[in-house]
Amino acid sequence: MIRRCLILPLRNGITVCRNNSTAVAEQAESTQESNTPAKNPLDHPDYFQVHNLFTVKDLFDARVHFGHKEGSLNEFMTPYIYGSRQGHLIFDLDITAEHLRKALNFTAHIAYRGGIVCFFNRNALNAHLVEKTALECGEYAHTRFWRGGIFTNADHQFGAITRLPDLCIFLNTQNNILNQHTAVRDSAKLLIPTIGIVDSNCNPNLITYPVPGNDDTPVAIELYCKLFKAAITRGKEARMKFLQENN
């Protein structure tokens, strides 16, 4: 039997096991002692070298710096805006690049620990691409209508005990132009970390790792999908290597 969840101990020896449903707590098997000479991936600022996955020029060519008009600006997005050109907002790609690096590093670490990732996108133009990306990296996507209690009432709605995602990646935090996606609020309720591409009309407050940028152009979404897929793949490969070394 392959153990689905391998929980590595933190530096002071306390193991972390989070329950999102009424399931029995999984047995925490520590394969390493706490004071081991082997390097802990959490110590390294960029263990999976995700900083090399993109440059500011790649973001620029993928039109990530385009924002909406000034009239639809959300006040919380003002720190991420470089300026406005003829009424159209431009994101500061240096700030975006820094946020994106943190988000990709976090994704790779989650994949290394064997976490489930769920992609969200309610823009019909890019829905198919997001579903294909999730399939290719072996993770999950939800790009359709969101029934109210999928996270908060999971055991009843799915009939059986469910394991919720360990990371939610929102490639578009809006459900339609007026409302935010319900899953942003629900993930915050259930302490699920989220990464979200926030455009100038989105609210970044409830998102753990917001990445300010364009979420409407297919070219930009393609770039994000490619980067997240690469980060997840790197995390999973490192995990496979670690498991093979220790077996």
Partner: protein, 173 residues
Amino acid sequence: MFNSISMCKTLKSCNVLFYKRNFSISTKLLDTNSSDASITSEKSGFAKSFEKQSQLLQEESVPKHNFASLLRNSKLIDLGDPKDKIVIGKIFHVVEDDLYIDFGWKFHCVCTRPTNRKDDYVRGARVRIQIKDLELSSRFLGSNTDLTLLEADCKLLGIISSPIRPTTSEKSS
């Protein structure tokens, strides 16, 4: 006074002789350089400085990749006021009579198929469009923020190239 004029004439002739001599000296140098190059591959004097100067000019043309200079040299800034500017777009989707055209901006625009050369407008065709508005958004009464249609508003002017009808240059190649 006449003595001074005659002095000037002699000086002038001396100057001419001086320049002529310099020119002959420089050509002599070049000849020696070419003969030297055939024997050894080292360059010196004028040839060396010529190489150095041409390399300096080449290094200056490397473009900067920081965001501020990328934005400053981008097509968006070159456009200026986007209203009534003509740009080239590419059709990426067709739904019966609606053409979805992408012209390098955040949004695409949707135009109806024109009546002349209607069969040339297929996916992958390059067209000329005139921008009316880069984003169709406005504030309605009683709301805090604008309502956007997530689309640009453009007028379709004509076709540039279509994969249906290859141009003469494409036929020859």
